[in-house]
Symmetry: C2
Subunit: 227 residues, 2 copies
């Protein structure tokens, strides 16, 4: 298999059938030996975390498939920590799509003058940021994405609609387990027909979840999702 | 006349006919005695600049009236440096609407990875930021403005459409004078029927203008606009 890309937490290989294989690694983003999904460099290795993240992703990709939401997910081999996915092109040099059900974090840092931390956002709010550490992951609007040639307004509308639907599937699953999803981030790409689909993974490190009024640590969250 | 508000560069009075009177002052925003339209505190006083800014605003408000764009402008008394305007409510605690015809400044600081400084943006690009020095005037999307209860999506669409039309009127006027409008910022409000209209002023300090490849100083720009 030809290796296409060596990532921080995943390696990417070309499959002969035209699909792509993601190999989940035990390397985690973090700082000073402490796991932090918001960090952009590998900070530590946790034995078996690659498989745990893969199992979490498979759990949600299967729920999405059942709900009729098409994603890049094809199949997984948990033993070998690999997931087969459809080929897709990422938007720009990395774009994060955030869906917020409860206003907190950077949203409140920006707009705290207008909304109290912890306010529930009816129906959810979707925003996009460029992955760019040096620039502090700048917010980018639908109109700017079009001007910059990153995606068409129609692609944005499809991505936003899918984000709201996918977030609802994840939030409903967490609610059944007694947990409250505050916000979640995704990555999208587009296939050879220009169709926008969810790519990458859906793991504990990509969401902020509360239980009984307290934030749930990503490691505990994985266990509770897979319980 | 009842004084409604004491501003940095304008005072605001209630008129008996229901309209509002803006009194343009000679105080300018700036720092260390140097005029800087981007600063938020009064830095110096320039004899007669209130009247010059009023004349510039009248010039553009009259052009807009002729082009069929309704604004808050009713009439002006240049001698006394006052402008009569329709009453309007501002959005939130201050919202700036920026229209960019050439990508530069904060747009490039945010998105320089995707576009070269000085790239012309066909048709123009509109974005909104909250006036909030401590937070660095954060960008805010159409969806966030709705979630925060600042304006409805329909109000945003009207504001964006007007911004593009108004920018074209100003850019065409500057082009006739041999100048090139890069970007311009506006303030909008809404009247008692919820109709969105341009408020405040249209002065040299609100736009970035180039001539023969060099940026034009706001004081020189005023003279060239009024020449």
């Amino acid at each position: 298999m030809e290796k296409l890309y060596t990532g921080k937490t995943k390696d990417v290989y070309q499959l002969e059938n035209g699909n792509v294989l993601l190999k989940f690694k035990d390397d985690c983003t973090g700082k000073d030996g402490k796991f932090d999904p918001g960090e952009n460099s590998v900070g530590l290795t946790i034995e078996g975390i690659g498989r745990e993240n893969l199992k979490t992703s498979v759990h949600y990709f299967e729920l999405l498939k059942a709900a009729g939401v098409k994603t890049h997910y094809v199949s997984a081999d948990v033993e070998n920590a690999t997931m087969e996915v459809l080929p897709a092109t990422v938007f720009g040099h990395g774009l994060e799509v955030i869906c917020r059900l409860v206003a907190t974090g950077s949203f409140i840092r920006r707009y705290g003058e207008y909304m109290e931390d912890g306010t529930r956002i009816e129906g959810g709010y979707v925003e996009t940021t460029f992955k760019d550490d040096a620039k502090g992951d700048p917010l980018v609007t639908k109109d700017a994405l079009a001007v910059l040639g990153v995606m068409t307004p129609e692609m944005y509308d499809s991505m936003k609609e899918q984000t709201l639907a996918i977030t609802k599937v994840v939030a409903d699953d967490l609610a059944k387990k007694g947990m409250d999803l505050y916000d979640i981030k995704f990555e999208f790409g587009y296939d050879k027909n220009g169709e926008v689909i969810l790519i990458d993974e859906i793991a504990s490190g990509n969401m902020r979840v509360y239980k009984d009024g307290k934030i749930v640590d990503p490691m505990d969250l994985t266990k509770m999702i897979l319980a």
